[in-house]
């Protein structure tokens, strides 16, 4: 007979199981970030210090300071030790610690990603539900056709197109940045929407919102399409189940059947899909932020690649992977809470 455990214990064991997978993955990710700089053609000492012409003495000095004169295993453990203490290296260009830059820019990406996922959920779930209820109708076909176009969209072009139409021809929204240059206030939370409200400056919030609209649409397009399609197929599956038929037979209104009985169960796979969009968002942020000059980590990485700031690429790669792993862990835990079946 298996012993009965409380829900808390099961949750704890679930967490331990996830950590047992996450820790080796993090070590692997750190090995990739560590080897990256050593795989590049050229002298890693020169690449990391950013000094192209050095005397042999200077080279030996930097090499020693960076630890390149020690065995490779010691170098790696040293690197990992530094990472665990928050030392992700120093930018060659700005001479600032990578982790500080990351935390300066990360809120901008989070703000944009949250708005985009909100945009995708608010439009995508109702669209999927309506398409499922009106399955096979012209509305369904139009919505799913649009969703497939959204899913196939090259978002960097979509961004350019929207800039051309909405900012260029209609002049409704600004082209780039997070807020108009005429407003200046110190960052409190790092989220422009909140900070502009806190600043109390007239028009600042409106300016922040108008800067956010197009990037939100561009970054939210693919998640919107994915969520709409996923909601539709999850709803169709649930609507054909016995308990929904029973609820219908009892004479409950369509609204009640769909809203109360079906939607709740259909949401389980949809929540997973939303969780999986985190990585997609960060990949999309690389393109969206580049197009709209949005000062987040996506643009930071692209700029670092073109500036050959290898220290930032190395550090950024590791921090971003760590953040994604952390978010995925949280999503997994939340998922375990709403769907008790997977904890067994």
């Amino acid at each position: 007979m298996p012993r009965q455990h409380g829900a808390g214990f099961k949750m704890f064991r679930f967490l331990l199981g996830r950590l047992a997978v996450l820790i080796p993955t993090f070590v692997g990710v750190s090995i990739i970030a560590f080897s990256f700089i050593r795989l590049l053609p050229g002298d890693p000492v020169a690449l990391l210090s950013g000094e192209r012409v050095m005397s042999p003495e200077r080279h030996a000095e930097i090499s020693h300071a960076l630890g390149f004169d020690r065995p490779i295993v010691v170098q790696y453990l040293d690197y990992l030790w530094g990472v665990l203490h928050g030392d992700f290296g120093t930018s060659i260009v700005t001479k600032k610690p990578v982790i500080d830059q990351f935390f300066d820019l990360f809120p901008a990406t989070v703000e944009l990603s949250l708005c985009a996922i909100l945009f995708a959920v608010i439009l995508g779930i109702p669209a999927g539900v309506i398409a499922a209820i009106k399955r096979g109708s012209a509305v369904d076909q139009a919505m799913m056709g649009t969703a497939l176009v959204g899913f196939s969209m090259p978002i960097f072009w979509w961004g350019l197109l929207l800039i051309m139409l909405v900012s260029g021809m209609l002049q409704w929204t600004p082209v780039s940045g997070r807020i108009s240059l005429m407003y200046f206030f110190p960052p409190v939370t790092g989220f422009m929407l909140v900070d502009s409200l806190l600043s109390g400056q007239a028009g600042a919030f409106k300016s922040a919102v108008s800067h956010l609209i197009l990037p939100t649409i561009v970054l939210g397009t693919i998640p919107l399409a994915v969520i709409a399609r996923q909601t539709r197929s999850a709803m169709l599956e649930v609507l054909s189940e016995d308990y929904v038929r029973t609820a219908r037979a009892k004479g409950l209104s369509t609204f009640r059947v769909v809203g109360v009985h079906a939607l709740r169960n259909a949401m389980i796979p949809v929540v997973t899909t939303i969780g999986l969009q985190v990585g997609v968002m960060l990949a999309g942020a690389i393109l969206t932020e580049t197009i709209f000059s949005w000062p987040g980590i996506g643009k930071w990485m692209v700029d670092s690649v073109s500036r050959r700031d290898y220290a930032v690429i190395q550090g950024g790669l590791l921090v971003i992977a760590a953040v994604i792993m952390l978010v995925n862990l949280i999503v997994d835990l939340l998922y375990g809470l709403i769907n008790p079946r997977i904890r067994h």
């Binding site: 993955t25 350019l160 051309m164 990485m301 992977a321």
Partner: protein, 302 residues
Amino acid sequence: MSQAAATSTVSTDPSRRARLAEFWYYFSENRGAVIGLVFFLFLVLLAVFAPWIAPHDPVAQYRDAVLVPPVWQEGGRAGFLLGTDAVGRDMLSRLIYGTRFSLFVGVIVTTLSLVGGIALGVIAGYFRGWVDTVIMRVMDIILAFPSLLLALVLVAVLGPGLVNAMIAIALVFQPHFVRLTRAAVMSEKTRDYVVAAKVAGAGHGRLMFKTILPNCMAPLIVQATLSFSSAILDAAALGFLGMGAQPPTPEWGTMLAEAREFISSHWWVVTLPGIAILITVLAINLMGDGLRDALDPKLKRS
């Protein structure tokens, strides 16, 4: 012996034909999928016969015809149906040649990630144990990065260019095939027909690739169409970021990168390459939806 061979040809051939007919029945029921297929075949023809179809050399610069608008607009010229770009190259010819690069990227990336993914996935799912653990942990590591970021950094290591972009994208796509294959192999492995083949004395290699693998292909084919279109999108994105195909290659993403500064003045140089990417990816995704309906019995009729 010869009799056995004869019966097997008699018995399997009609069933294979019947299966193909059944597949086509479900596939052709999906009107979008058929439209996608027709358009895709059209693109293949364009790519193959590009040198004969394209009116101009895609890299020839006509200095007297810089930024000519498409023919239906004021100032358009009959010689340049879709206009010219900033250095006087014919847009239509560049777009036609661009199909070659996009389809090539799709084919190579899908083949690389499919073959590598199947091999690793079958091994992991068949042997389990530490081999499985090692393979799956490595795949988890690749999946821990946003795909485009990892591809971008890989290209930064390997050097910008279309070939390196394809290698990077194939590497990033591989884990999805490994996971799918492994899951399918694990569910097939304990079936009666596999046990029967094992008892009959089939070796590991035969069991893995001849007995089990053919029964795992349906989800892999669907994933392959999906990665075909994603590969085209990602290669174009890398080209747009300056890390894929390099100018003057008429690759659609690279063309968009070159056209960025004309966004407010000359719409056609920005709009046309994007439409080409969109409809190509859309056609392949339409086909993918049809394939999924036809191959996945669980989703059939839903």
